[in-house]
Symmetry: C2
DNA sequence: CAGTATCCCAACTGATACTG
DNA sequence: CAGTATCAGTTGGGATACTG
């Protein structure tokens, strides 16, 4: 007769790191990839590299100002490279994912898994 | 001599589901747990159940209006139960996590893992 | 205690125009 | 093409006061 509910993995991690620390780290993660556009840009770049205006057209409704800001931010976090080909005129700029951004794969997969599961749950009832 | 870069798992999932579909699902996930307070509330409730005002004090700077809205939203998504004990006066309301919210465990763990890894990378250089 | 109502402000967004 | 500058509109959240 087991009176105690089995703890889920996340609860164990909370005990390991401390509640506030866990919270802080997860907030940082949200800050790095959250917002309206960052994941969209990253996913577009998982498919292939794009030039600035190509990216803008691909994403749909994003303005040049916002796209520019997001790209700078993603570059700062090490997710993308800004690749300038100066041999053409005007210069050609290509944005591409870094190897580092592949570390996002497990996280994105879990977001996908949970979203698919949740969608089934919503539709199921 | 392997000319092709090995594909990461997420790229495979994109090919399986389609890029736009993946994007939509991940956006849904962001919508469900994103924002300034939802994860904080969920994590507080992973620790234990709280009454409304307890929760407000625990979270720090959240206003009653915002907390109220967030709790309604979390309840709608099936993450929490609003438990009313009418035997007391005034009534006592306790918020607790549902079993369903344990399905967030793998996702939260990946957010934690990535955040810890990223923090090390930032500090390392 | 468990919220609601009201007002206000800062931040983010979009649209448009402009530049090297 | 690859952005930057400027302005206007929306939104989300905080502060405070109030209610059953």
């Amino acid at each position: 007769l087991n009176m105690e509910k089995e703890k889920c993995e996340f609860t164990k991690r909370m005990e390991e790191h401390g509640c506030n620390s866990v919270l802080q780290v997860i907030d940082d993660t949200f800050y790095a990839i959250g917002g309206k556009w960052k994941v969209q840009i990253i996913i577009a770049l998982f498919k292939q590299s794009w030039r600035f205006n190509e990216l803008q057209r691909t994403l749909g409704k994003i303005s040049a100002r916002v796209l520019s800001n997001e790209l700078k931010n993603l570059e700062l976090n090490g997710f993308i490279n800004r690749n300038v080909d100066a041999s053409t005129t005007p210069v050609m700029v290509k944005y591409e994912l870094t190897n580092y951004s592949e570390a996002l794969s497990p996280l994105l997969i879990e977001m996908l898994n949970w979203g698919l599961m949740h969608r089934d749950k919503i539709k199921g009832k």
